[in-house]
């Protein structure tokens, strides 16, 4: 059984580090391809919206950024749960590598939302359930980053940050279902599994852009986690060997 492919092997930073290095250019390339296809469909081919004119085209980045801001948080909370349960080294590093990208996605969701809200609702911002819970998500990201940065011991920082992530995860379903649970100014979802209220080209443009943002996030997080690994494992033999070997 010694040749069996073992997934757990990649839970060790020493094996994950080179694997991540190999994967980054592929994720980056796939992200660019999805992005170009999505922009082509969304910005050049998709028809005008009958209610919102050309202004609706903000959807092609607003929805992907919003999805990713929630999804990245869920992935971080998942890593936090694994880390707290099994005390694995990799999980804390993964959560830390994802946080800045998740925060940027939450910021982009709010930014593009403001630029969309102004012409459609007449306001950059309203204290509506959807917008407020997304703002709380941004604060959760910032809080996690500030908390982990303030604790010198990396393992303790992971534990404290992981608890914050798990407590805050309740906010994600609140964001997602806010347009159903409350009377909000924000429109309901345009896409669900059975039917969609959008034209085909609009829908595909949006899904392609979502894939682009997703692959981008993976690529950047993998880049970041490699640096975190070097930093945290600097006293181990595998990092010393890499450094002595002139790792670039």
């Amino acid at each position: 059984m010694k040749d069996r492919f073992n997934l757990y092997r990649f839970a060790s930073p020493a094996t994950f580090y080179p694997l991540a290095g190999v994967l980054i250019p592929y994720f980056a390339a796939v992200s660019v391809v999805f992005g170009l296809a999505g922009l082509y469909l969304g910005m050049l081919v998709a028809p005008t919206d009958f209610q919102q004119g050309e202004g609706y085209r903000i959807i092609f980045i607003h929805v992907p950024a919003s999805w990713l801001s929630m999804f990245i948080y869920l992935v971080m909370a998942g890593w936090a749960a694994i880390g707290l349960a099994f005390n694995t080294r990799l999980s804390g590093m993964m959560a830390q590598a994802l946080a800045p990208t998740g925060a940027l996605m939450a910021f982009l969701s709010l930014w593009t939302g403001a630029l969309w809200g102004k012409p459609m609702w007449g306001a950059w911002w309203v204290w509506d359930a959807r917008l407020t819970s997304e703002l709380i998500l941004l604060f959760l990201y910032i809080g996690y980053m500030a908390l982990t940065a303030a604790i010198d011991d990396a393992r303790r920082a992971d534990k404290a940050g992981g608890l914050l992530l798990l407590v805050g995860v309740v906010n994600v379903p609140i964001i997602y279902f806010s347009v159903k649970w409350w009377n909000t100014l924000h429109q309901g979802s345009s896409v669900n599994l059975t039917k969609s209220s959008m034209a085909e080209t609009m829908l595909w443009g949006m899904l392609l852009m979502a894939m682009c943002f997703w692959m981008y996030s993976i690529a950047v997080a993998l880049m970041r986690v490699r640096t975190i690994m070097l930093e945290r494992e600097r006293h181990t033999d595998w990092v010393k060997a890499l450094l002595a070997g002139g790792e670039k």
Binding site: T48, F107, L108
Partner: protein, 62 residues
């Protein structure tokens, strides 16, 4: 089939140009700058760790 009649049409976005390009511009900027910052941080971290390792090995050799 391209939806636009002219490049000026495309830029104007039916009067929503400011909002649409304000959204896409900031998104593009962030997605261009973030990987650059991450790569730069990796470079400085690597240089520092290499320096520290050299200092360590020098100390243990003495």
């Amino acid at each position: 089939m391209i939806h636009w009649n002219s490049f000026a049409d495309f830029l104007a976005m039916g009067g929503y140009g400011f909002y649409v390009w304000g959204s896409f511009g900031v998104t593009a900027l962030i997605m261009a700058v973030e990987p650059i910052l991450v790569a730069r941080h990796r470079k400085t971290t690597l240089a520092r760790l290499k320096r520290q390792l050299r200092a360590e090995t020098r100390n243990t050799a003495e």
